[in-house]
Every structure is written in C-alpha cells, then in structure tokens.
C-alpha cells in the first residue's frame, strides 16, 4: 500500500502537468463519448415494446412507389394480423420548408390498435376519428410549434399538388417516434386527390411475435406477381433502412473516433515521457533501496493509468451530464430528439482510458525500470 501512496504523491507532484494531461484526455474522451452516442442513436432507433409487433409494407421497388388501397382488405384477412392501416407520407410544409417534420395521412379506424403505445385520451381519439379534417400531433412536435388542441394549421403540399387545413384534435405522447409526427385522415387526403385511392405504406400490427415472420411471408407472397409487389419488414428494420441511406457517414465517424484515441495516446505518452525523464535519479534511488524493476514498472504504468482513467471518467460523465441536461430537440430544431450517453459508451470510454494509460507509459516506463542503478544515479536530470 505504501507504493500506492507514492504513486498518488507522484501524480500530484507536478499539479499543472497532471491537470493539463487529465484535461486533454477528458476533452478528447468527451468527444469520443459524443461521437459514440451519435452512432448508438443511429443504430438503435427508439423502440417501445409494441414496435416489435409492428411491420411496415412498402412497394418492392422503393418508397417512392405507391400501393393501391385495395391491398388493405387483403392484408386484414391474413393470419396473425391484428390490425392494419394505410398511410401516406404527405410531406406538407408548415410555413417554411425548414420547419420539416413527418406528417402522414392515415386510416383512423384501426389507428390506435396499430399504435397502442401512443398515450392519448379516449375523447381525443374519438375527436380525431370523427373530424374529417382533424389531426393528432406528438407532444414534442406540439411543443416545438407551440400547438394546442383546437389550433388550426395549414400544411402546403410538396409531394402532392394539394394543401390541407387541419384542426388539432389531440396530442399524444410516447410512441417510437418520440412524439414528433402529425397524422391526419387519409379520407380527407384521398378526397382532395380526387379519390386516387393509394397509400405509401401499410402499417401492420401482428398478434404475437411469432406471427411477425409469417405475416412478412404472406403479404409479400400474395402480391409478388401482382402489379404492386411489396416489401414487408419490421418497424425497426424499416427505420434502419433510412439510417443506411446516410451511407459512409457512420464509417467516417468511427474513423474519427479511432484517430482521436490515437491522439490521446500521443498526449499521454508525451506526458509520461516528460515525467519519467525528470525522475531517472529518483528511480535509481528506489531501486537502490531494494525496489524490484517490476515494482517500479508497475508504479509508473499505474500512474499513467490513473491519469487516463480520471480523464476518461471526467470526459464521458460530463458528456452524459451535459447531454442529459440540455434540450437537444430545441437546440437542433427537432433534428435530434434523443441524445443519451449509454452505460455502454461510458464503459467503452473507461476501457479506452485504461488502454491509453497502459500503452502510453509502457515504453518509457520499461526503459526507466531497466536502467542500471549506477547509471541512473549518475545522471543529472
């Protein structure tokens, strides 16, 4: 235990250097934690227990292709399907294109059976279903534009040559979209489009998890040789499909993380080299007193590990604290809804700290510990 005290004393002997090294490592690991969180948020879209039971069917060629509404009745009849709704991305613009948010025309009759995870009162559900130009909005979306039940809003069509004027009939919370969507009646939309009778996707709720693969097979099988072949996948896979469109961005972020880690290593190695160089004589004294080379090595590496770990802890936890306390949705005008530094990321940062600590000290510490005592004592630092 004596050597632990010595270790801490050594760490504190040049306080400024310790402070600067720890700060540098902490700032870098703050960056690592942030970038890792970007990746985990991308790769793990928000889910609720119900989203595992939801499937999305789109046209096999791409989302740009529409599906005939007549398919709905067929899907409804299939085994394992509890409810199904047709939805159409409306792409309406609220005042400015920069106010971008998701807005869909949707079937209302089975809407809340498909989305039982939305928290909304029975009265508001009914009001939405009965008002032809009614709409419901997510709580975060309502907060963003300061909308209340009863407000009338105008959405200018971008994908379609029609505009809609809606009355907000309810505000929901929960749901795997984190309350960021607007839904209005498909009937209203279809009427404006001269009863064109098409949807973009079907959202299906399966009865049990076992029904999920069965439904995929049934739906896609039924329409395979029709004019409108489909592709059905789980809600999660569907959302991850959007993430994969970002292309090389993920690879790029991962590369940046590795470069940052390498940079920390250089900084830490430099500090340890400086600090060990100043202490060559002292190390000679320790060895003359009977400390073994391995003990000296352990102590020096321990010092570096301690510095890096403290830096890693500070960096990753400050990221967790900072992103936990600012309203990211407000800060990024709805672009980022959730930004949560996971325990996994915290652990990763600690492991990086440990790794950097060991690697950066090993070479100078090994050399110092192996230096013959006489040689070390003779040296003038």
């Amino acid at each position: 235990m004596g050597s632990l005290r010595l270790l801490i004393k050594n760490v504190l002997r040049n306080k400024r250097r310790t402070f600067l090294t720890v700060s540098s490592i902490a700032v870098s690991l703050f960056l690592v934690a942030t970038l890792e969180t970007v990746l985990t948020e991308l790769q793990n879209p928000p889910e609720t227990p119900d989203s595992a039971l939801r499937l999305i069917t789109r046209h096999q060629i791409s989302l740009f292709n529409i599906l005939p509404k007549s398919q709905r009745a067929e899907i409804e009849e299939m085994e394992g399907v509890e409810a199904v709704i047709g939805t159409m991305w409306f792409g309406g613009v609220y005042k400015e294109p920069s106010n971008f948010f998701a807005n869909f025309a949707t079937d209302t009759d089975q809407f809340f059976q498909v989305y039982p995870d939305l928290i909304i009162s029975k009265e508001e559900q009914e009001a939405f279903k009965t008002d032809r130009t009614g709409a419901i909005v997510g709580d975060n979306l309502a907060k963003r534009f300061d909308w209340k039940v009863g407000d009338r809003i105008f959405l200018k069509g971008s994908t379609f040559p029609v505009d809609v004027e809606l009355t907000i009939r309810g505000v929901y919370s929960g749901g795997s979209d984190l309350g960021t969507t607007l839904y209005f009646q498909w009937e209203y939309f279809s009427e404006l489009m001269n009863n064109a009778g098409f949807v973009g996707t079907y959202t299906i709720r399966a009865r049990t998890p076992e029904d999920v693969p069965r439904i995929v097979e049934q739906v896609d099988g039924a329409f395979r040789n029709s004019s409108y072949p489909t592709k059905t996948e789980t809600e999660r896979a569907f959302i991850l499909g959007f993430v994969s469109m970002l292309g090389d961005v993920q690879l790029f972020i991962t590369s940046i993380v590795s470069v940052v880690v390498f940079t920390i290593m250089l900084v830490a190695a430099n500090t340890m080299a400086m600090s060990i160089r100043e202490r060559v004589r002292e190390i000679g004294v320790l060895k003359a007193l009977g400390f073994r080379s391995s003990q000296v090595l352990t102590m020096l590496v321990g010092e570096s590990v301690l510095l890096s770990l403290v830096g890693a802890l500070l960096g990753s936890w400050s990221a967790r604290f900072l992103f936990g306390s600012v309203d990211m949705a407000l800060l990024t005008s709805g672009f980022i809804q959730r930004f949560y530094v996971t325990p996994g990321t915290l652990i990763l940062c600690l492991l990086i700290g440990l790794f950097v600590g060991i690697c950066s000290a090993s070479v100078p510490a090994w050399r110092a510990s192996q230096r013959p005592v006489v040689d070390a004592l003779r040296r003038v630092a």
Partner: protein, 385 residues
Amino acid sequence: MKIPVKYNLRSLLVRRFGTVMTAFGIGLNVAIIVVMLAMVNGLDATLVETGESDNLICIREGSLNEVNSYFDRDKFDLIRFLPGVARDDNNEPVAVAEIVVGINRQRKDGEAANLILRGTSEKGFELRPEFEIVEGRSFEDGLRELIVSQSIAERFEGLAIGNTVEMHNSDWPVVGLFKTNGGAYDSEIWGGYEDISQVWQRPIHSSVLLRVDSPQESAQLIERISEDERIQLNAVSQDEYFAEQTYSSIGLKALMGFIAVVMGIGSCFAVMNMMYGAVMSRQQEVAALRALGFRRMSILGSFLTESAFLALLGGIIGCVLGSLFHGYSAGTSNFASFSEIVFNFRITPEIVLQGMIYAVVLGILGGFLPARRAASVQLIDVLRE
C-alpha cells in the same frame, strides 16, 4: 531587441521526442478537420457544379424537388414553344421533358439506398453537354434498357454492364456506363422516358429542362412560365436548383464545427503541457536572456513563436495526412431528393490554408499562458537557485 528565431527552432530540436509527439497530436487534429472540410466541400461542390446557368428546370409549383414533382404531359408543348427557349439547327426547341422515379438498390457494402432513375431522351444528353458514354452504348427507346453512371455502377450491386435490373415484372439490361462533370447526375440511372413512364404507369412529366436563347432572357422566361395560367410550374436556373440542395451537408457541417472546437481545446491543453515543460526546464536560460537585456515582451514573443512553430509543424503533418484523402469517393443521402449522392473528397488550397490557420491558432492559444509564465521569470529568483 528580438530573440532570434533560430533559438526557438534549436530548442524544439533539443526536445525532439516531445516536439514530434505534440506536433503529431496537433497534426492528427488538423488532419481530421482538413478531411472533414474536404468532405463537406466535395459534397457541396458536387451539387453546386451541377447544371448550367442558361438552363432552366421547371417543376410543379409547391414541390421542392424533381422527385416529388409531377404534372400533365401537355404542359411540355406549352413551355417549349415559348419565346426565349433556344432552338437547335433544325429549329427544334432545346428542351426535354423527363420523369424521375426512385428505386431502392443494395450497395456493395450490403446496405440499401435510394437511387434516382431518370427517364429522358436524346435532347436530355444535349442539354447536359458534359454527358458522355464511357463504356458500352446508350439505351434505345422501346427496349427498356438502362445506362448507369460510372460511380453508381462501382458502388452498387448488380448495376454493371451485362446485369439486368428487375422492375415492375420486367427485365432492364444495363447497356452502358456514363458520366457527366462529376455532379449530381453522376449518381443517377437513366433510361428512355417512354419506357419508364409506361412501365411505372405514370403518364406524367416530373420536370422540363430547357435552354434559354440568351442569358439576358432568362429572367423574362422564368416570369413567363410562372405567370402562365395554363402552365403553373416553377422555373429556376438549373445551377441554382442544385446549389439550393447543399443543405444536405448541414449536419456534417455542424458535426465538423463541434469536433473542431472540442478537439481543438484538447490540443490546446496538450500544447500548453508541452510548452510549460519547455518553459520550466529553461528557466535559467530565460533568466540569462533577461540578464542579457532582452525585454519581457521579447521573451513572451519568443515562446509564442516557438509554440506557433510547433503548431505549424503539426499543421504541415495534418495537411499532408489529410491530403491523402483527396479524391476519396464516398456517398451519403441527398436530403432534397432522398436518394444517394456520390461525391469525392476535395482538398483545395483554401482548405490547406484553413488547416494551417487552425493549427497556428491552437499553437498560440495553447502557448500563451506558458509564454507569459516565461516572461514573468524573476531574474533574482532563478539566479539564486
């Protein structure tokens, strides 16, 4: 009196290990920033450099992009015979009506993305003068053939010459690879307008592309198109249309700014550490300099110079490392068209300059406190030691 710069360079050389380590640290930081700048620049440039200023693109009023624009086919004749539209040698208007659809295809990395499939015709090639077939031949109308941009063929599965693409229960052979000037059209697949319109059962046009007779008439023609009650389309110059799509890079820009600031702070600490080390171990030297009559300001300046040199070295390392990524081909989602856009990282002299300035700023910020510490060395204290 100024302390010679040679003194600083030699001092850096004495502490080579620390100098190299710190410079490399700054270098990696600069490299990340340079590569990010090259990436954003490449993405923006790909969009900005697409299209000609004397071409107009007409899309449905209210739609934000060709992808979600569609209108009746009879509007084409209303537009192309308007005064102000250029005519070719046969007195035919230089205009093309096209259809744009999206198809979801798998990349070679295993993930899928949307691609723009454009139905066009001969006039479409003429309106894009950089267009050329690099391999194979062009598609023939009525045969349901496709030509694929070279960069997309390289990046996606099953889009090489000889492959067939199954769409709407019919097989479309890829018969040629094309390229344009490295712009947005280089991320597309083209086929015959009639073929695509027919098979997709969409008897519509997505956009009309036309050349104006003379650049001065452009504004008038735009007005003529938007004010014509029968047309009701929005006309914009083709280059502006694509330049507006550069908001796709806004996320990357924000990320870059964040990384530049945070990583920069980390690097400042590292420089500070190194420079404090330099100052502390050279206290006697500094005192000697003072004793020789050098002023405090000279000493401050000298250490700042040293720190700036250290950072400059880092900047050079960073720019060299970053330059290795010049021309690296990547792809991401164009938010405007919701489809893949392929671009090349592009390093320009301005980016190198920005990288160097960034490095020197890091050096000066990180070196300031240590330099001040050096300047405040008390002659008497040091000499007494």
